[in-house]
């Protein structure tokens, strides 16, 4: 591991100033991904600015009935929070489906959004990887890719985003808030990015992952009010029963009136470089009969754009079955 300086930031302005002063600095949250990547040499920061103790650890109900979640809230506290479980149960389920109890206690909301892919070539500094070393190539396309992307990938990178939490946040139209240091001595500037625009298209720049400005610090995530989210579910498929990354996952919310879909939210995990909002499927579903035939047609509409590789074509069938199964369950519960 490269040697590094360490600073613990106690306020947002201080954190931004410390990062701004050192181009090789990185923010440290729970460290569950960054420290691991530093050990393997994938990440080589010269300075860590520890932001875990910043006063960004609140979860509050917003006046309009949404939720504002601070960036340093741990995964555990997010999943245990009564308002998260009541208003957005799929978000609590998604967080609980990720990692282990130990890691959820350490990991933060901001860090979760910025975690890196678990593609084995990205993690191995002896192998080419366009995400790690731009222009070096993507061995996954011809090699080990059974858990890689089927949607939105490119000839330069087929890695997936590993987050479970992000899938539910995407389904519920989360907005990421951030701050950046001012060039002068003035107050820090801020901005907002809908999660739908937060992750950049892969294209020929897989090393550029987010639309955050350089040096930005995520300060929180806001969930707009969504009554439909109270009837939501996260289901994750993995190669063992617990403590593994998804090979496919789904966050779904459904409101059925008189047998027809009144409102629906649908997002997929482990199939793309980012949590994948299934907008084509949502269009097919909205206003249509809430039955298995519609659910399958909606899945097919979304997955028509899939470009599977030889060893991950199973994900097309897997995601289709997940859509039908989870929406059918939600529709049956709505009918009770």
């Amino acid at each position: 591991m490269r040697e590094f300086a360490y600073d613990r930031a106690l306020d947002v302005s201080g954190a931004l100033a410390l990062l701004d002063a050192d181009p090789d600095a990185r923010f440290l949250g729970g460290g569950t991904n960054l420290v691991d990547l530093m050990k393997t040499g994938v990440e080589r920061p010269a300075r860590l600015v520890d932001v875990r103790e910043l006063p960004l650890d609140d979860i509050e109900v917003t006046p309009d009935g949404g939720l504002r979640i601070g960036a340093t809230v741990t995964n555990s506290d997010l999943a245990a929070h009564p308002e998260v479980r009541r208003r957005y149960p799929a978000l609590a389920q998604a967080v609980l489906a990720g990692a282990s109890g130990q890691l959820r206690n350490m990991a933060t909301v901001g860090g979760n959004l910025l975690q890196r892919t678990r593609c084995g070539y990205f993690a191995d500094v002896t192998k080419p990887c366009n995400k790690r070393v731009p222009g070096s190539g993507c061995p996954a396309i011809e090699g080990e890719h059974h858990n890689h992307a089927i949607l939105g990938a490119s000839e330069h990178c087929v890695a997936t985003h590993p987050s479970d939490m992000g899938v539910a946040l995407t389904a519920f139209d989360a907005v990421v808030s951030y701050r950046t240091a001012d060039g002068s001595a003035g107050a820090p500037r801020g901005g907002e990015l809908p999660l739908a625009d937060f992750y950049l298209p892969v294209g020929d720049t897989p090393h550029r992952e987010t639309a955050l400005p350089p040096g930005a610090l995520i300060t929180g995530v806001t969930l707009p009010p969504a009554p439909v989210a109270a009837h939501s579910r996260y289901r994750k498929v993995r190669e063992r029963a617990s403590y593994a990354f998804a090979i496919g996952s789904i966050a779904a919310a459904l409101d059925v009136r008189d047998g027809a879909v009144r409102e629906v939210r649908l997002a997929f995990g482990a199939v793309a470089s980012r949590p994948w909002r299934a907008t084509a499927a949502e269009r097919v579903l909205t206003g249509a009969p809430a039955d298995a035939e519609t659910f399958a047609a909606a899945a097919d509409a979304e997955l028509a754009a899939a470009k599977p590789l030889p060893h991950n074509a199973y994900k097309v069938t897997l995601m289709r079955n997940l859509v039908v199964a989870v929406l059918t369950e939600l529709a049956e519960e709505a009918a009770r």
Binding site: L48, Q93, G101, Q102, M106
Partner: protein, 185 residues
């Protein structure tokens, strides 16, 4: 004038099992390595060193965490509890006693991590935290019973290569029951 190069080491004070330990550390030092290599607290075990096996589990401010991904310098100011800090003199912690009584181990290497994790599992459950196998996570549904399925899911961050899971799960259940009984008494 160029800024002075920042130091890549610090003198830190760690609060471990109620005792303060001051030591210089290279910032690259994990809490796990500080405990084992610098402070002779070798009860905490190094398994994968990648956050995947749970052998290095300790309690940080009462919550379980893997010490292999926790930088020692970032643990300054936190209350660290390791396997060495659980017993009350010669009297074992009830979770330690349950592991002994029910043979919740074979080779014993993962056991300190299993025990630290189990203590936290029982507290997380008592605090009403749901898990990935909880049918209904809404607060109105109330906490799920700490069934074998719940215990297995909640303990899934601790691997046991001997496969002593059957008796580990029984030991966690026994310790949880004892704690509930104690609270009710």
């Amino acid at each position: 004038m160029a800024p002075a190069p920042s130091s890549t080491s610090s003198d830190i004070t760690l609060n471990i099992n109620g005792e303060k330990h001051t030591l210089p550390v290279d910032h690259r030092t994990t809490l796990l390595d500080a405990l084992r290599e610098r402070l002779d607290l070798t009860g905490t075990k190094k398994g994968c060193d990648q956050g995947q096996c749970g052998a290095c589990t300790v309690l940080l401010d009462g919550r379980r965490a893997v010490s292999c991904l926790q930088l020692a310098v970032a643990a300054e100011g936190r209350e660290i509890t390791t396997i060495e800090g659980l017993a009350d003199g010669d009297r074992l912690h009830p979770v330690q006693q349950a592991f002994l009584d029910l043979d919740g181990y074979q080779c014993g290497y993962c056991t300190p991590g299993q025990i630290c994790s189990a203590i936290a599992v029982i507290e997380e459950h008592a605090a009403g935290w749901p898990s990935a196998v909880t049918d209904d996570v809404r607060p109105e549904a109330g906490p799920p019973p700490l069934s074998p399925e719940e215990i297995r899911e909640r303990m899934s961050g601790n691997l046991c290569r001997c496969g002593a899971y059957v008796s580990i799960a029984q030991a966690v259940a026994r310790a949880a029951e004892a704690k509930t009984g104690e609270a009710a008494a």
